[in-house]
Symmetry: C2
Subunit: 206 residues, 2 copies
């Protein structure tokens, strides 16, 4: 199991390479990447060696090639359709955020159990009822689902998503979701962002 921090670093490298490519830079050294990302150069070289033999000593990495290899390894080689369940506050914020599409994740359908929400528009999407989820995903073939419903409803929603063909779940509800083998669940807890902010504030004043 590759530890989470490595995955977080790969994401950081990908963002860095995308920015370099936007600026028209075609090669980069691990030292230059260290300046951009704040991660030490030896760690970068070690992480990239997981991906393959990509650098040329003394020359550095080809930005476009390294980016493509990283995207391939992270399963980002093609766009992903995403089903969102929960058209409340969080669901609305996720729908309107441009950052997902930029990374190739497109929310293509929104579902909710409340009759007051079904039929309303959320951005460019119409909120659909939960009964429609399985039928709709036969056509849409999304593999990623997002859970933005209250804690008590989350497990039931996860079961619906898995039964409809979803293989990866981003869970925002503060509860542990049980899924069968082969389904990947990632729990998001924004409280960890506050903890990290607090850590850096505490270190800044040491």
């Amino acid at each position: 199991r590759v530890p989470d921090p490595t995955v977080g670093r790969l994401s950081t490298y990908l963002h860095c390479l995308r920015a370099l490519e936007r600026d028209g830079i075609t090669t980069v050294s691990s030292a230059e990447m260290a300046d951009h990302t704040g991660i030490n150069a030896a760690q970068i070289r070690k992480d990239v060696s997981y991906i393959g033999e990509l650098g040329r000593p003394g020359v550095g990495y080809d930005v476009g090639h390294l980016k493509r290899c990283l995207m391939e390894r992270m399963g980002l080689g093609q766009p992903h359709g995403v089903l969102l369940v929960g058209a409340g506050s969080l669901g609305s914020a996720l729908c309107s955020y441009p950052g997902f599409a930029e990374q190739g994740f497109f929310i293509i359908a929104v579902f909710d159990s409340s009759p007051a929400k079904v039929g309303r528009r959320l951005g460019s999407l119409e909120v659909l009822s939960m009964e429609e989820l399985a039928r709709r995903n036969r056509d849409l073939r999304a593999r990623i689902g997002v859970i933005a419903v209250p804690r008590d409803a989350a497990q039931g929603v996860a079961d619906c998503l898995v039964a409809a063909g979803i293989r990866g779940i981003l869970n925002f509800a503060p509860v542990k979701i049980e899924v069968r083998e082969g389904i990947t669940v990632r729990n998001v807890d924004l409280a960890q962002e506050f903890e990290a902010l607090s850590y850096y504030m505490a270190s800044a004043t040491d």
Copy 2:
């Protein structure tokens, strides 16, 4: 500069120790923590040694003591008041999330520039106008602020927060915020959660 992944790991250890304490467990070995967290035991011992000489060989760590030391190092020894700016979809979802208070972060005031929002209630709080921010924080003395406004408004909001005494900012707007020396900014990009999910899904099928 301690790299981000270490900070993320410290958060993970803290969550693990809190769960052990709830279950009434008073000592834990690095191997047992490895089982709980999925982080390898040698990495755990190395990280904890940053915090201090805490383990006893062959016996393990005292759960309560290690937790308190970690909280101290992460600046979590006391509760933090938080100012939230932006009472839109994201702001509403952040206000209603119980997970922040559990970690000692309390949203104590919400501000918005839209007259249609000012005076409305968001959870137990009344939405205040931006003109009130500096005056209110003279009494509240919050040190952490959250930016949940559109991209174009984010820099202006950051300047207001810093002028009002805020020292740490959690920024959700997809734009780089410029602040003076001594102010900590942490940018949140939920797209990275999708990327991590995608990485694990891609690895599961290799």
